[in-house]
């Protein structure tokens, strides 16, 4: 592989945004028939590198060579014509169009000056069958699950006989089976000689599928390694730029006993809380100073339960007590006034407001509680924002930066800050660590523990079982919208045990 010339070589790539140097002197090499992982924390410059490569952003300095020919990519379309296609983290297709159209739009098959729908349908089915997908291609994209949409996005890029396929966080919203299916497809493409750039935060997946790894940190090139020669801990330490011991020490103090949790007062209690079609009767006792985990597969009812507790959805029956008092939560506002805060899993759609600053995003919830006529003076706002920016280590450390310019992990921190400012008694965190990097994850976990020590309750929803085991004192396992078991974390259980519980009777 080394003797071969790389199909793609990027050298000395520099990209500057106003106030931020997103990439400085980064190089990257890609050979055909390999899967090359691009690793780095959020904001390390992975996405920027991809966007420069695909012509979304022009580059400021550096050269890009495709098959030894220098190229200047002008636009995403130009990149596709050159044979560089991308499947983005959020599926970037049009939900209102049919599957066929999403595969072909921009490159429709024409006959006598009109679109040849019949031929396109046939070709789409053929393409999708290569991905082992048998679906009705004339239906709208939005009628399929995200996993299938992801495959359709790949089919779209295959249609242009691509040489380089970029997969930007393709697995972040897929379940285990879907990931396996996707990996099979990726491996087939690799055998067909396509060079693949793979970006993911899941270390397991990186080690499962990639051949080589290039690491970026703070927009700088850190190194390139063969995957099999690079131990995981080494990789993590290269990514976050901290010594191993330090990182280990951080994760160590995450183990929590729960025994003392029981002695404290019950903050929230539900009895037979039900909502038809989304959650079966559910009993829950949440103490002050406790981190309570909800584990289960996607769609097992975790988010639905969280939404019930926040008043975003209304329960059909059952009672909910907060501090021993029966309460009806009919709206999020009531929940907030009762000291409940909710960080949504869907931070793009239900959390951040991209076009306003970090400070304004932070201040939203507290201002909501105070009422709009009780305006928080700007000086106070700045004070609060500064405090949380430094407390949560938000990057860039400028509260006036627009939210949309932040990386995913930092946006998540701002959302956390938004709720921390309201000083809630119960913080519901729905997948707070999804799609963010190891460093930010550790910081968020640390923060949860310090909140717990201050007597707050936390309801923690996460797909990453290791994380649930590490943080939570008690864990409820959900399956098919039902609580199937409640586990007290005595330090002896591990994620495999929970996995068994989740799988449960199905095996």
């Amino acid at each position: 592989m080394i003797e071969k010339a790389p199909i793609l070589a990027m050298d000395g790539i520099t990209k500057v945004f106003p106030g931020v140097k997103a990439l400085s002197n980064v190089s990257f090499q890609l050979f055909s028939g390999e899967i090359h992982a691009l690793m780095g924390e959020n904001g390390a410059g992975k996405s920027t590198l991809i966007k420069v490569l695909t012509g979304v952003y022009p580059l400021d300095k550096g050269t890009v060579k495709l098959e030894d020919v220098p190229i200047v990519v002008q636009s995403p379309l130009h990149a596709q014509e050159l044979g560089i296609s991308t499947v983005y983290q959020e599926v970037n297709l049009c939900p209102n169009l049919s599957v066929v159209e999403n595969i072909f739009i921009g490159r429709e098959i024409m006959k006598n000056g009109r679109i040849d729908w019949k031929k396109m349908n046939d070709r789409a089915e053929e393409l999708l069958s290569r991905l082992k997908l048998d679906i009705d291609v004339t239906k709208e994209l939005s009628s399929y699950s995200v996993a299938i949409q992801q495959m359709i996005a790949i089919a779209r890029s295959l249609n242009v006989s691509s040489k380089v396929l970029i997969l930007d966080e393709p697995t972040s919203s897929l379940d285990v089976n879907e990931v396996n299916q996707l990996f099979e497809v990726i491996n087939n493409l690799k055998k067909a000689g396509i060079a693949i750039i793979f970006i993911s935060h899941f270390l397991d997946q990186i080690y499962e599928i990639s051949d080589r790894i290039t690491i970026l940190r703070n927009g700088e090139y850190i190194g390139e390694h063969k995957t099999k020669d690079l131990p995981r801990l080494k990789l993590v330490s290269l990514m976050i730029g901290k010594e191993l011991e330090e990182f280990d020490a951080q994760s160590e103090n995450k183990d929590t006993g729960s025994e003392h949790g029981d002695k404290k007062e019950v903050f929230l209690e539900t009895e037979e809380l039900t909502k038809k079609g989304s959650i079966e009767p559910f009993d829950l006792k949440l103490h002050a100073g406790e981190i309570y985990g909800l584990a289960g597969l996607l769609g097992s009812g975790r988010t639905e339960l969280a939404r019930l507790l926040f008043g975003a959805d209304k329960a059909d029956s059952g009672t909910l007590k907060i501090k021993g008092k029966t309460t009806n939560l009919n709206s999020p506002k009531q929940a907030i006034l009762n000291g409940v805060a909710f960080c949504s899993e869907n931070r793009k759609a239900e959390g951040i407001i991209p076009d306003i600053s970090i400070r304004e995003n932070m201040i939203l919830a507290i201002q909501g509680i105070k009422g709009w006529f009780n305006y928080i003076p700007i000086r106070k706002q700045i004070e609060i924002a500064d405090k949380y920016v430094s407390l949560l280590n938000i990057n860039p450390p400028n509260p006036e930066q627009l939210m949309k310019n932040l990386s995913g992990g930092n946006q998540q921190k701002v959302l956390l800050a938004r709720w921390l400012i309201t000083n809630p008694d119960l913080l519901i965190l729905d997948e707070p660590t999804r799609g963010i990097d190891v460093g930010a994850k550790a910081e968020i976990q640390k923060l949860m523990l310090s909140l717990k020590d201050n007597g707050k309750s936390i309801l923690f929803v996460s797909s990453e079982l290791e994380e649930v085991v590490r943080c939570c004192g008690k864990i409820a396992v959900l399956r098919d919208h039902k609580k199937v078991s409640e586990i007290t974390n005595d330090g002896k259980i591990d994620h495999q045990y929970i996995m068994q519980e989740i799988a449960g009777g199905n095996l």
């Binding site: 995403p76 939900p95 209102n96 739009i105 921009g106 679109i115 239906k139 009628s143």
Partner: protein
């Protein structure tokens, strides 16, 4: 499977069609004159220019935008045509010039929207004032037309059996057919739908978003000018107050025809039925005799409200369906049934 999808998408159009049929049969039942096929043809004759404008507006709304300038463009076109004819120019020269008014303005507005990233609402609002002002600059009075060709276009009746339609109806029908072809069988048409669905995605998929957006406003401008010409045949005059507020009627027709204001979903046929619906309301109130013409506006208002409510329900239901996709089948169908 296939049939289900078609139904789902066509529901708003079907509902409009049914409401139209219901209203029309109500008219036939109540007024004996209403049963004459000529009444139906008159719907087209009286509203051919509105159909043409609505076609252009459908493209704009499908792309996720809005065009408020069309009414003013009609007035300006009529004014340009009338004053040029008054100056003694031949219709062979006048008509192409008049037909250029809308596309040029539309192109400029599209450029503003794309290059400066401005809101279509504001840009076309400015275009609306500009075009209306310009037509009064040409003349504040009505300019009547005595040209032979225009008179011919105005008075020719094309017989269908014992009944007739006008030349403008033929033009409108051609426009609608071309528009349906463009919307469904050309790259431009599909790009419009894609941009309306998700502009960001369209951009990342490498579609020519800017070009398409500019073209959409140019097309709408052209439709407005063509409608202006047809309107001029109909009125045989140019006047700055022609087609005042017509843009809102066009938008109403498009929405009633089932096109989502947020873009990406809708059909040309729907807009045509939308126009016919507005026309039927007008006819019904005219036949009633005792009712003030302003009742038309009230009826249109209520209809619009009904349709926007309906769209909301459909969108909501689709969202729900999407959420339940990972659930078991039984639960999924349960949700849909509700």
């Amino acid at each position: 499977m296939n049939r289900f999808k078609l139904n789902d998408r066509m529901i708003p159009v079907m509902i409009t069609l049914m409401l139209f049929a219901f209203m029309y049969s109500f008219g036939m039942f109540r007024y004996s004159n209403f049963t004459s096929p000529q009444v139906f043809f008159n719907l087209f004759i009286d509203n051919s220019f509105l159909i043409i404008v609505a076609v252009g507006m459908t493209f704009v709304i499908l792309s996720g935008g809005i065009d408020l300038s069309v009414g003013s463009v009609i007035a300006l076109t009529s004014m340009v045509a009338a004053s040029l004819l008054l100056a003694g120019l031949s219709p062979i020269i006048v008509i192409p010039i008049a037909l250029l008014v809308g596309p040029v303005l539309g192109f400029l507005m599209g450029c503003c929207i794309h290059f400066f990233n401005l809101q279509p609402f504001i840009v076309t609002l400015a275009g609306m004032f500009f075009a209306r002002g310009l037509s009064f600059l040409i003349s504040v009075e009505t300019v009547s037309i005595n040209d032979d060709f225009f008179r011919f276009m105005a008075s020719t009746r094309i017989p269908i059996g014992n009944y007739f339609i006008s030349t403008s109806v033929i033009i409108a029908i051609i426009v609608v057919c071309v528009a349906i072809f463009v919307a469904h069988y050309t790259k431009f048409g599909r790009n419009v739908y894609a941009i309306g669905g998700s502009e960001q995605s369209a951009l990342l998929m490498g579609l020519p978003v800017g070009q398409t957006k500019i073209l959409v406003y140019t097309v709408s401008g052209f439709c407005a000018s063509l409608a202006g010409l047809v309107f001029t045949f109909y009125m045989l005059s140019g006047y700055g107050l022609h087609a005042n507020g017509l843009e809102l009627e066009a938008i109403a027709a498009v929405v009633i025809g089932g096109t989502l204001l947020t873009g990406g979903v809708g059909y040309m046929v729907g807009s045509v039925i939308g126009v016919l619906m507005l026309g039927t309301i007008q006819s019904l109130i005219a036949y009633e005799g005792s009712l003030s013409a302003w009742w038309t506006k009230i009826a249109i208002g209520l209809l619009l409200l009904l349709f926007i409510g309906l769209q909301r329900v459909i969108v909501h239901r689709n969202d729900k369906k999407k959420n339940t996709i990972s659930l078991k089948d039984t639960e999924g169908s349960d949700q849909i049934a509700r």
